[in-house]
Amino acid sequence: MISFLRRQGYLLEYSLASLARRPGKHLGLVLVYATLVFLLASTLLFTQSLRQESALVLAESPELIVQRLLAGRHDLIPASYLEQLGTIRGVGERYGRLWGYFYDPAVRANYTLMVPRAAPPAAGEVQLGAGVARARGLSPGDYLSLRSARGEPFSFRIAALLPADTELVSSDLMLLNAQDFRRFFDFPADRFTDIVLRVRNPVEVRKVAEKISLALPDTRPILREEILRTYDAVFGWRQGLVFVLLTGAMLAFVIFAWDRASGLSGEERREIGILKAIGWETGDVLRMKFWEGAALSLTAFLLGYLLAYVHVFHFAAVLFAPVLKGWAVLYPDFRPVPFVDGLQVATLFFFSVFPYTVATIIPIWRAAITDPDQVMR
């Protein structure tokens, strides 16, 4: 055992020295390698933290939302449904929500207007998401003027800005109180946008949903887990798409690595011949070469991963956030939450180190079986 470790130590030492003797030859490979890791890792880290973020936000959202459907389209829900829903067993707290979208021609963007349940702003006041504030160049204390549904100008005083920690979701948000909301949109007094239910026992959510669609056939219950599922699927799919595109890059890298590994210079060939002649075994040369590959891989992997980490978490993935987040005018100044897991690292490994190794097996073996008597010629 000790002799095994010691031998690996000697081989590693030799391979590191050999890398150090030819830095120029390996620099290009490491750069290309690290770039590949960087691209893949950035994609993974970024979407993963988006997914994480939306899961965090949704974790606080209600288990069950009930919408009314009219001719298959989302319609306003009568307040009277609240009582009927109360008769269903298992339903705990329930309340109607008021929210909607407003298109602001001044900045050509959609805002989400919403009445918060807890601590709504005073009459005539609003709380603004950072995106809206930025687009309009507003800060607390300023006034925001919008044209209501009836075409009258409405002026809101900005009471506060919303905290930026969940900016992906709150960026385009504008919070106001119920009277202002109804007046602004000319919203019928006995209606809500939708109804939200809390279910006492989480295991029963599906059952409650079933009962609701029986009792109120013109409604559609939406489960939080379903939203989560859709989000996950969308994020996974986008990641997948980027990876499919990057598979081309990976193949190019494989060919590059193969070419590099097989294109040994005469000097290197002679070196291996000498090693074999003075007593190194084919297996020793193979192992030495794999140590070399491991050192290169580790360097490139760490370098690429670190750069990706910095790129995503310190520079908010500036390079390709547009692709992954979708185009939006109210571009959220989203700061992803650092998040690293085994799945990511293992996936990255299979897209970088694994293909590199596979591409180099045969060239390395070819080099290792150099005839030991070659040096005598």
Partner: protein, 222 residues
């Protein structure tokens, strides 16, 4: 004692460029003392030395070393025999550029995984013996011809082999250095090492210390 039984070596067998480097050679060689394989260029000296030193396998025939059959060993085991039994000195010193003299000398021991401290001491001891201690930490490509040759000898000795094999060791040295080299080789023979040299240099095969000369021509005994 090395015994060769109908040993042949053929390159590119069955192809148009087939070459019989050694043909049907029967020979017994004493391992003690200095043995010189003599013959013109292309006579098969190197091919024969390579087979004797377990660097390559005969195409047919058998080679026994001290009664042990070597010729049908797989490469893995030939290597084991080679690194414990033979030390090599090549015509073109074959030191690895970029490594220091000390590292070059220690290289053959790496696969045997000895204790690093002990290996270093041993290598430094050899360098001292061959007046190279000053050079230990110099890169091997800065050595003079004589120093490179002595480094190669140290490297050949690091695993304490019983037999030293030298292929045309004087081909790249002037007469002065050649004589010095032969003196060193004589000292090794005095220490009990068996020496096998191939050469077509009269300075070598006419040297007083040589115990026997085997002459080759076209892969056969002349």
């Amino acid at each position: 004692m090395i015994r060769l039984d109908a040993v042949s070596k053929v390159y590119n067998q069955g192809r148009h460029n087939e070459v019989w480097a050694v043909r049907d050679l029967r020979l017994e060689l004493e391992t003690r003392g200095i043995t010189v394989l003599k013959g013109p260029s292309g006579s098969g000296k190197t091919s024969l030395l390579a087979m004797l030193g377990c660097l390559s396998r005969p195409s047919s025939g058998r080679i026994h070393l001290e009664g042990r059959l070597l010729s049908n060993l797989p490469e893995r085991f030939m290597t084991q025999v080679r690194r414990s039994t033979f030390g090599f000195i090549f015509q073109r010193f074959n030191l690895i550029r970029g490594l220091t003299v000390l590292e070059n000398v220690m290289l053959p021991a790496y696969p045997l995984a000895p204790d690093p401290g002990r290996l270093r001491d041993q290598a430094l001891g050899l360098l001292r013996q061959f007046r190279l201690e000053e050079r230990a930490h110099n890169k091997s490509e800065w050595l003079s011809g004589g120093e490179a040759q002595r480094t190669a000898i140290c490297r050949a000795l690091i695993n304490d082999p019983a037999i030293i094999i030298a292929d045309e060791p004087t081909a790249n040295l002037d007469s002065q250095l050649s004589r010095e080299l032969l003196t060193l080789i004589g000292e090794l023979a005095d220490q009990g090492k068996g020496i096998l040299i191939s050469s077509h240099d009269p300075l070598v095969f006419d040297h007083a210390r040589v115990s026997r000369v085997v002459e080759l021509r076209d892969g056969r005994l002349a």
